[in-house]
Amino acid sequence: MRVDGVRATVLAVVLAVGSVLAGCSTVQPQQRSVLADPIMQFEGDPQASAQLRHAIDNREGSYGGAGVAGGGCGCN
């Protein structure tokens, strides 16, 4: 129970600090040409990535944490 409390506190602190830092990010729309390029997408080809994950998941005991579409450019 105590360990869970520590975990929850650490998680809350990380999220709080992260959200504050996120607000400090000042990438302007005209600066997003690289971020908007397909080469900077976390999931550039979602269908192909899903099939590859499907094959790998069936050979491992783990699951989850897969990437989601988008590259931080606000253009999806």
Partner: protein, 445 residues
């Protein structure tokens, strides 16, 4: 709202009350999404986009480790139409064409040592075809998008109904993207009817899939429910650097064994594989995507940690580098390292022997994916985006007079698995190597 969210956090972090965890996650996530949906009001049609996107992907998987082999061909096609900017409707189909031979009876070195000269490992041919149609829609209003979809899966011995809902929004001048989603599976697994007074150590494995999902008195359906929750935070920090944090939780409740596989659990006693019914899984992944201007390479680094209530802990590290070779043609090279511990009830031989062999409680498995192992994967991918040549007189140009753009892709991956303990009656698996080929094509018009 606060009460519901605190319940969710307790469930996701804690390990207690597993039977109720599924309902709690479903309730909390459903409440959050319902609250979000109710806040947006009616969708207002915007300017018509009139775009249809067609994508097809094909994956070919093959491995042939000691005494077994497996080949899986997975074709898929998706069509998405955006009649107006506020809505996208999509439908798709995917299949798995499976053939090969898998282990039907698993024994370990201790049993083999007292039964010399007897080949106790048996294999069975596997031929199956999974059909999986799917459909869904996305609604958008401003910086918020809501997605709902349904996927059906059917094969000889498995049925699946899967519902998905998700919400996504942008914040801080589009430098931040937040996404949450919830998925619920209502699955059924075909199993053999067991004798009334038998207990798991005397259960017999399913012989084949004949009679499954029919009125056959020798077959029964075993339910499996799966609740999945995911939250992600994607952040652009500089014009060339972005990160993504993804958290996934999944609760499985129901039949999770391979009904066809038998384990030798004692001298002269062979039983159907027997796994716990509840499994809670959590994963946290952090990705970095950094464009290195001097060498024009995008570098992606991923770290993932995973933990579940079957006591499997794993770590994954991935590195991928991608760059343009020509205009529209980009290539990438990737490497992946994976390491996991074994499940609490994993043993290579339940009949005994020196540690780590021997019985591990009331459960027994012959699943190598539940044993401790590591794997190393290497892969290459090429993607070619084709855009029409602009018309000299201006106006919208199209490929072949139809498509606004098209995309072709090809990939090849090889993965080497190294099992610490898993053997076939004492014979280690030394050539567990998987080859995965992929091809994709897509076009918009």
């Amino acid at each position: 709202m606060r009460l519901q969210l605190s319940s969710l956090v307790r469930v996701l972090i804690g390990r207690g009350h597993r039977r109720n965890a599924s309902a709690r996650v479903a309730g909390a996530v459903g409440f959050c999404l319902a609250s979000a949906l109710s806040s947006i009001g009616p969708f207002v049609p915007a300017a018509h986009a009139q775009v249809v996107q067609v994508d097809t992907a094909h994956t070919f998987y093959h491995e042939a480790p000691t005494r077994t082999n497996m080949t899986v061909y997975t074709p898929g096609v998706d069509v998405a139409a955006t009649p107006a900017e506020w809505i996208t409707v999509r439908g798709g189909y995917e299949a798995d064409v499976v053939s090969g031979a898998s282990v039907a009876t698993k024994a370990g070195p201790a049993y083999q040592s007292v039964n010399p000269g007897v080949d106790v490992i048996t294999t069975a041919s596997v031929n199956d075809l999974r059909h999986s149609p799917r459909g869904g829609f996305t609604l958008r209003k401003g910086d918020v998008a809501y997605t709902a979809s349904y996927t059906y899966g059917t094969e000889n011995d498995y049925r699946s109904h899967s519902l998905f809902i998700g919400a996504r929004t942008d914040a801080y001048d589009h430098n931040t993207q937040l996404e949450i989603s919830y998925a619920r599976n209502f699955d059924s697994v075909c199993d053999r009817v067991q004798a009334v007074n038998d207990t798991p150590p005397r259960f017999r494995a399913l012989e084949d899939s004949s009679g499954c999902f029919s009125d056959d008195a020798l077959r029964r359906r075993r339910p499996l429910s799966i609740d999945g929750f995911q939250a992600s935070w994607t952040q652009a920090w500089t014009p060339t650097f972005a990160t993504q944090l993804v958290y996934t939780a999944q609760i499985l409740d129901g039949f999770q064994s391979n009904p066809y596989r038998s384990i030798i659990v004692a001298q002269g006693l062979k039983a159907q594989e027997h796994h716990p019914e509840v499994r809670v899984r959590q994963a946290l992944a952090l990705r970095f995507n950094w464009y290195l201007r001097p060498i024009k390479v995008a570098l992606r680094v991923t770290g993932r940690v995973y933990r579940d209530t079957w006591d499997i802990t794993s770590g994954t590290g991935e590195l991928e580098a991608e760059r343009y070779l020509l205009e529209g043609l980009r290539v990438s090279a990737r490497g992946r390292f994976y390491r996991q511990t074994g499940a609490l009830f994993w043993s290579d031989d339940y009949t005994g022997g020196d540690l780590p062999l021997g019985p591990k409680g009331q459960y027994f498995t012959g699943d190598r994916e539940l044993s401790p192992f590591w794997s190393l994967g290497l892969g290459l991918r090429a993607t070619y985006m084709i855009h029409p040549t602009p018309k000299p007189e201006g106006g919208r140009s199209r490929l072949l007079g139809i498509f606004t753009h098209a995309k072709l892709g090809a990939s090849a991956d090889a993965i080497q698995f190294d099992y610490d303990e898993y053997t076939l009656a004492g014979i280690p698996i030394t050539n567990a190597r998987a080859y995965i080929l992929g091809a994709t094509a897509g076009a918009a018009f």
